[in-house]
Amino acid sequence: MTVSVTPDTIERELVEFLETRTKAGWTATRDLFGEGGLSSLFAMELVVHLEQRYGIAISGADLKLANFRTVRAMVELVVRLRDGG
């Protein structure tokens, strides 16, 4: 059974995930690696988290930091990969 996950849900879940993992507050547009100060290695944890949580595979040209820079960018990526199949 696939439960439809709306972009809003994904956004809320990702903000929660970041808050648990980093013990800091996040918004949908805050730059994780610039002003957010997270290490670029954390980006790989995000890749794995998105793949496991949303059943997608991120590879090739999608595997670039710009796709993980903000919660909003990640939501767009997840939605696109889920739709595109």
């Binding site: 100060g37 290490s39 980006a43 794995v48 595997l63």
Partner: protein
């Protein structure tokens, strides 16, 4: 490396498939260099293969892989003799546990098995190269290249020729580093070279401040990051290095320099005893939910 090895596209042999061995293997693979990775047991190598697959994706994600380069092939082996027969290695990197006796034994076996002129590269953090040179057949072939973790992301490498290292071997190793797009900085042989001599006592001091209750782990790191521009903070760095390795390297430094700042503090020793080795074990000064593969 020997000219023959280069023509045949021989592998880079990496001995030790821990944090550094897997990182150095990743660095070579993304640059199209085949790698033979050696460790003591199959379970370690299985974990290393998972770690390298993840590292290769991280390298792609962070733009650390050169464009239009097909990754090299990875072979793993629990047998050092097997790894050293077949096509001649371009160089052998020793990245086993930071224990002088273990390293000496591995380097002696490698040096007895490879042709003269094959660079024997130790990735030791702190053991003087000339001390390790006592164990090998040809001290001229041995040098240190001190990669930092993650080796495939950090572009500067400390290079340490010993007093008996041949200039040709330094040139071969430097050329290989150039092919891996690293920037070598050559320093004189001594305990801990430049980077560990400066970094390790500083991390030890940071842990001691926590132990004395001067500040919390988070605050020590936040002050070093926010006030002094340290990229991650010293205690997060300790977790990235591996606290077991950090304590081993501090012991080596303390024993050879007599510097009390390098005597591992109680908090570091307790973390090793409790198995809180840092990122690789899932927990050190910080919690990482899961151990890195």
């Amino acid at each position: 490396m020997t000219a023959a090895a280069r023509e045949e596209g021989g592998p880079l042999v990496v001995v030790g498939a821990g944090v550094m061995g897997t990182g150095i293997a990743t660095l070579a693979l993304v640059h199209g260099v085949p790698v033979t990775l050696v460790d003591l047991d199959r379970a370690v190598l299985d974990r290393a293969e998972v770690a390298i697959a993840r590292n290769l994706r991280t390298a792609a994600l962070l733009g650390a892989a050169p464009p239009d380069t097909a990754p090299g092939a990875l072979t793993t082996s629990t047998s050092l003799p097997d790894a050293l027969t077949g096509s001649t290695a371009v160089a052998v990197v020793e990245a086993v546990t930071e224990d002088p006796a273990t390293k000496a034994a591995v380097l002696a076996r490698v040096s007895a098995a490879v042709p003269e002129g094959t660079p024997l590269i130790s990735n030791t953090s702190s053991i003087p190269i000339d001390e390790l040179a006592a164990a090998v057949a040809r001290p001229a072939d041995l040098l240190g290249t001190h990669f930092m973790n993650p080796a495939y992301l950090i572009t500067t490498v400390e290079v340490v020729p010993g007093p008996r290292t041949a200039p040709d071997v330094v040139a071969s190793a430097t050329k290989l580093l150039g092919e891996l797009r690293r920037t070598p900085i050559v320093v004189r042989d001594s305990p801990g070279f430049v980077t560990s001599r400066l970094l390790h006592p500083m991390i030890n001091d940071a842990a001691r401040l926590v132990e004395e209750g001067v500040a919390s782990v988070e605050d020590v790191d936040a002050l070093m990051q926010g006030c002094l521009g340290h990229p991650t903070g010293p205690l997060r760095t300790a977790d990235l290095i591996g606290i077991d390795n950090l304590v081993d390297a501090l012991d080596v430094l303390h024993l050879r320099t007599g510097d009390e700042r390098s005597r591992p503090c109680g908090l570091l020793v307790a973390k090793v005893r409790d198995g809180h080795h840092g990122r690789k074990s899932g927990r050190g000064f910080y919690d990482y939910e899961e151990a890195l593969p």
